[in-house]
């Protein structure tokens, strides 16, 4: 299973996947934007400001999922000492930071017309801000520590500590009385969102996930080339 992430096995596949995503991306983006901005109905309470949800919610999900993936891969890397996993976590981190920042900014833009404020030190919003700090620390570790092994160790520890924040973000709206609304979409089938809004949301999620895959593949390929370039002299 772990052999599947072996660079020499998947190098050609990465190129093919990048070309495939590039070929379908813009068509899907136009479809998703048409649904999000034109075809989906305004909310009966929030009016057209609800359309911000189509970028805010997928971004927040991706920010959370990326850090969870980084933390789990860091644990695996810590236990099994697999260097390739560190290349993957290093490639995921900027994507996670990007989407966490987008979630915070679009959340602020949604908060102003809905709550009448750009920012509140609310449990959900504050824990998202803490998540972005963990991402920054993770990325800075790789930039500032020159010895790769040490950088990997420190960044793995940061990711594992940061994992504690993930359930706090997820359940903050249930544990505390927050300004942020509780989740409208639940995996157990008790979602309170109408299908006419769920469809554009899922389409936007798909488009943003494809974008993440594209960036991840390009960054992973860059990392592989960087390592191989370093190894040429050794050979």
């Amino acid at each position: 299973m772990l052999d599947l992430i072996n660079p020499s096995r998947i190098f050609n596949l990465i190129e093919k996947l990048i070309n495939f995503i590039n070929s379908i991306f813009f068509v899907l983006l136009i479809i998703a934007l048409t649904f999000a901005l034109v075809l989906s109905p305004p909310d009966y309470l929030q009016g057209d400001s609800v359309r911000i949800m189509y970028v805010h919610v997928p971004s927040a999900w991706i920010g959370l999922a990326s850090f969870t993936a980084i933390a789990l891969l860091s644990i695996l890397s810590f236990v099994f000492k697999i260097k390739n996993l560190n290349l993957i976590t290093k490639s995921i981190a900027p994507i996670g930071l990007l989407f966490t920042c987008i979630a915070i900014i679009t959340g602020s833009l949604w908060g102003q017309p809905t709550w009448g404020t750009w920012w509140a030190w609310d449990a959900r919003i504050t824990s998202m801000l803490i998540l972005s700090i963990f991402y920054i620390l993770f990325i800075l570790t790789h930039k500032l520590i020159e010895k790769e092994d040490k950088a990997n160790k420190v960044s793995n520890i940061i990711a594992i500590i940061g994992l504690i924040n993930i359930p706090v973000i997820r359940y903050s709206v249930d544990w505390w009385n927050t300004l942020h609304q509780p989740s409208s979409i639940k995996l157990d089938g008790t979602s309170s969102i109408h299908p006419s809004m769920l469809l554009p949301l899922m389409l936007m999620l798909l488009v943003l996930l494809l974008y993440c895959a594209l960036i991840l593949l390009m960054k992973y390929k860059t990392e592989i080339i960087r390592i191989k370039k370093k190894n040429i002299k050794r050979i």
Partner: protein, 77 residues
């Protein structure tokens, strides 16, 4: 109708700015990632090119990634 679509019933500023920030940020990250990848590819190809015939043969034999890279890079240029 177009006026309504742009103004989004008074929420246009917030909605359009959210989408603009999202896609602008994604565009910038894509551009930077693409540029970095191309730079590394170019440097790696140049480094392989500067090796002597025997050295290059050894590298390509030992590194599957280097041989796959060179094949796809030569195809793309």
């Amino acid at each position: 109708m177009i006026q309504n679509f742009i103004s989004m019933n008074g929420y246009g500023f917030f909605v359009w700015l959210s989408f603009a920030i999202t896609f602008l940020a994604c565009g910038i990250v894509y551009y930077k990632t693409y540029k970095t990848l191309k730079k590394y590819e170019k440097d790696f190809a140049k480094e392989l090119d500067q090796l002597s015939e025997a050295e290059r043969k050894l590298v390509l034999e030992k590194s599957k990634v280097a041989s796959q890279f060179l094949a796809s890079y030569n195809k793309s240029i």
